[in-house]
C-alpha cells in the first residue's frame, strides 16, 4: 500500500536537551524530522518505518541566523527561504543564498531547512525504491549495472555505491569553509563541512558523519570568504523541483587580474560534494587567461569514471568550471 504511513509516536520537544534525550533513547529506531517533505516520502513508501519521530520544528534555538564573532551562524532548522532572503547571508555569502534559492520549489523552500538539505539521503531511485542494495545493507548495486538507469549517478569516487550527494547547499558550504555544529547528550563537536559528508568507501549506509543520537544544530560560516567573488550554477532537467545533474559552487579572492585563492566545489557528481583541489591550486596565484581556463576545465574531470548513461557529466563539469572562472 503506497501513500499510507505506518504508525509512529510523534515527539515535539520544545528545547534541544529534551530532543537530544529522545534521540539518544530511540537511536536507530528514531527519526529526526526537519522540514519533513522528504521524510514523509520515505514513510509513505514504507521504506523507512521509524518507531518514533522527533519533530525539531518547535525548538527555538535551532532557528534563526545570527552573527557570532564575525562568523554567521545559521540554525539547522532555518528554512531555505529564510537563508536565501537573509540580508546577513546575502550581504556576505551570496553563494549560499544563491544555492538555497535554487533548491526544489518555493513551497519546499518554505518548509525545507538548511539542516535537512544537508542531511538528506541520496536520490538514487533503486535505493529509494527499497531494494537490497549495498547502501541498504545488501550486496549489490543496481545502478552500476551496464543497462541500469544511471544518468544521474556518480562519475567520481564510487565505491560499490554510485549514488550522489543531492544537496545544493552542501557544495556552497564546503566552498565557504563552513563548520557543522553537532550535538548529542554527551556534548558538542564541530565538524568542518569538508569532512561532514560520508564517502561510501568509509561507511556505505550513511551520507554524513552523524551518528544515531546526534543532531546537527547549526552551521557556522567563518568570515574567511565574506564578500569574495562567487559563482553558483545548478544544471537540472527542470528549473523547478529538480535535483542537480551537476552543480558548481565557487569562491575566488582576486584583485581583478590575478586569482589569489579559490574554492571550487561540485555537487551531484560524487557521493560527497567534490572539492576540485587541483583546480584550486592551479588557478591560485595566476592571472586568468583563456588557456588557463581551458586547462582548469580539463583538470576538473581528470580521473572521472562515467557509467553507461552519465558520460555527459564530464563536459558538463568542464564547462561549469570554465564558466565559473570566466565570471570573474
Amino acid at each position: 500500500m503506497k501513500d499510507a504511513m505506518a504508525g509512529f509516536e510523534l515527539y515535539q520537544p520544545t528545547d534541544l536537551d529534551t530532543a537530544l534525550e529522545s534521540a539518544a533513547r530511540f537511536g536507530e529506531a528514531g527519526w529526526l524530522l526537519a522540514g519533513g517533505y522528504d521524510s514523509l516520502d520515505w514513510f509513505k513508501d514504507r521504506v523507512k518505518i521509524p518507531e518514533a519521530v522527533i519533530d525539531l520544528s518547535h525548538i527555538g534555538e535551532l532557528h534563526g541566523i545570527r552573527e557570532v564573532d564575525g562568523a554567521v551562524e545559521i540554525g539547522a532548522m532555518t528554512t531555505l527561504t529564510e537563508v536565501s532572503r537573509s540580508p546577513l547571508v546575502r550581504g556576505r555569502f551570496q553563494l549560499l543564498a544563491d544555492a538555497a534559492s535554487e533548491v526544489a520549489s518555493p513551497q519546499i523552500r518554505n518548509a525545507g531547512t538548511l539542516g535537512g538539505n544537508l542531511c538528506q539521503d541520496t536520490r538514487c531511485w533503486y535505493y529509494r525504491y527499497g531494494v537490497d542494495c549495498y547502501r541498504a545493507g545488501g550486496n549489490t548495486c543496481y545502478a552500476a549495472a551496464p543497462d541500469a538507469q544511471n544518468r544521474e549517478h556518480a562519475i567520481f569516487g564510487a565505491s560499490r555505491c554510485v549514488a550522489v550527494s543531492p544537496s545544493d547547499t552542501a557544495p556552497a558550504l564546503v566552498a565557504l569553509d563552513a563548520s557543522m555544529v553537532v550535538r548529542s547528550v554527551s556534548g558538542e563537536r564541530v565538524v568542518p563541512a569538508d569532512n561532514f559528508f560520508m564517502e561510501p568507501g568509509v561507511d556505505i549506509e550513511r551520507m554524513t558523519v552523524l551518528e544515531a543520537g546526534e543532531i546537527l544544530t547549526s552551521v557556522r560560516i567563518p568570515p574567511t570568504w565574506a564578500d569574495a567573488a562567487f559563482y553558483f550554477e545548478k544544471v537540472s532537467d527542470r528549473n523547478s523541483w529538480d535535483f542537480a545533474l551537476a552543480s558548481i559552487a565557487a569562491a575566488f579572492r582576486t584583485d581583478g587580474v590575478t586569482i589569489d585563492d579559490a574554492r571550487v566545489v561540485c555537487g551531484a557528481v560524487q557521493c560527497i560534494p567534490r572539492r576540485l583541489r587541483s583546480v584550486e591550486r592551479y588557478v591560485s596565484g595566476r592571472p586568468r587567461t583563456p588557456e588557463g581556463v581551458d586547462a582548469a576545465g580539463a583538470m576538473a574531470v581528470k580521473g572521472a569514471e562515467p557509467l553507461s548513461y552519465n558520460g555527459y557529466k564530464i563536459p558538463l563539469v568542464t564547462n561549469l568550471v570554465k564558466r565559473a572562472l570566466r565570471s570573474l
Binding site: G7, G36, Y37, L40, D41, F43, A52, P106, Q107
Partner: protein, 222 residues
C-alpha cells in the same frame, strides 16, 4: 426494515441513504458532527492501529483554519491535507501526487504557501491555516486572484486551481506588485497538467493590478 432497505455495503455512515457520492458523504459527516477518525476509504494510513500513547503528542488538538478554531482528533502520522479534506470537510484542497511534487494541496500556513500533503497536522498547531475556502469575502464575492483566474481562463480541468490560487495569494500578500518574472518564480511550485501556465501567470498579474487599483483608485488599464 426490509432487506431492500438495508444500506448498501459501500455506505459507511449508518442510516445514510444509498447512492450518496463521496462528496455528499463527507459533507454529511461534517454536518452531523460524526467523528470520522477511522474513515476507511482513505486507506490504511488513517485506520491503522496506532501504538498506545507513551509520551508522544496528544491526539486531540485545536486547529486555526480559515479564522475558525476547529477541535479535531489527529493521528501522529496524519498529514494536513488528510485532516483538512477528510476530517474538516475542506475538500477544496486537492491531493494530487501526495509527494510534494505537484502543488495541488497548497495551503497557507501563517500566510506562507506550503504543501499540505507533506506537512504533519500536529506540526501546524497554533498556526493560522488558510485554504481556498477561506478566501472569499464576507459577502461571498471571490478573492481578486480567483476572479482574475476566471477572467484569464486559468483553469482548464481545474484540479490544480486551488493550489495555484493559494500560491498566487501567498505571493501577492508578500509582494503586491511582482514583476512577471517574480510571479513566474513564485508559481513554479505548482504543476498544471493542462499546461495553462501562461493563463495563470496572466491571472496573477491581473490580480496584482486589481489590488493596486483598489489601493490607489487608479483607473488606468489593468
Amino acid at each position: 426494515m426490509t432487506d431492500t432497505d438495508a444500506p448498501s455495503p459501500t455506505v459507511l455512515l449508518p442510516g445514510a441513504p444509498a447512492g450518496w457520492s463521496r462528496r455528499d458523504f463527507i459533507k454529511g459527516v461534517i454536518a452531523s458532527g460524526v467523528t470520522v477518525s477511522s474513515v476507511s476509504y482513505f486507506g490504511a494510513g488513517c485506520a491503522a492501529p496506532l501504538p498506545a500513547q507513551t509520551g508522544g503528542v496528544e491526539r486531540l488538538l485545536s486547529l486555526r483554519v480559515n479564522g475558525q478554531t476547529r477541535r479535531v482528533d489527529v493521528a501522529p502520522n496524519e498529514t494536513l491535507a488528510t485532516t483538512l479534506r477528510y476530517k474538516l470537510g475542506l475538500t477544496g484542497t486537492k491531493i494530487g501526487c501526495n509527494r510534494a511534487e505537484c502543488g495541488a494541496c497548497t495551503v497557507l500556513i501563517d500566510n506562507v504557501n506550503h504543501y499540505a500533503c507533506s506537512s504533519l497536522t500536529h506540526r501546524v498547531r497554533d498556526r493560522e491555516i488558510t485554504t481556498v475556502e477561506g478566501l472569499e469575502a464576507e459577502d461571498g464575492s471571490l478573492h481578486p486572484v480567483q476572479q482574475a483566474f476566471i477572467d484569464e481562463l486559468g483553469p482548464q480541468c481545474g484540479f490544480c486551481t486551488p493550489g495555484q490560487v493559494m500560491s498566487a495569494v501567498a505571493l501577492l500578500r508578500a509582494n503586491p506588485t511582482p514583476t512577471r518574472e517574480e510571479a513566474r518564480e513564485a508559481m513554479s511550485g505548482n504543476l498544471c497538467r493542462c499546461g495553462a501556465y501562461d493563463h495563470y501567470l496572466n491571472g496573477v498579474m491581473r490580480a496584482a493590478g486589481l489590488t493596486t487599483l483598489t489601493a490607489s483608485a487608479d483607473t488606468g488599464e489593468v
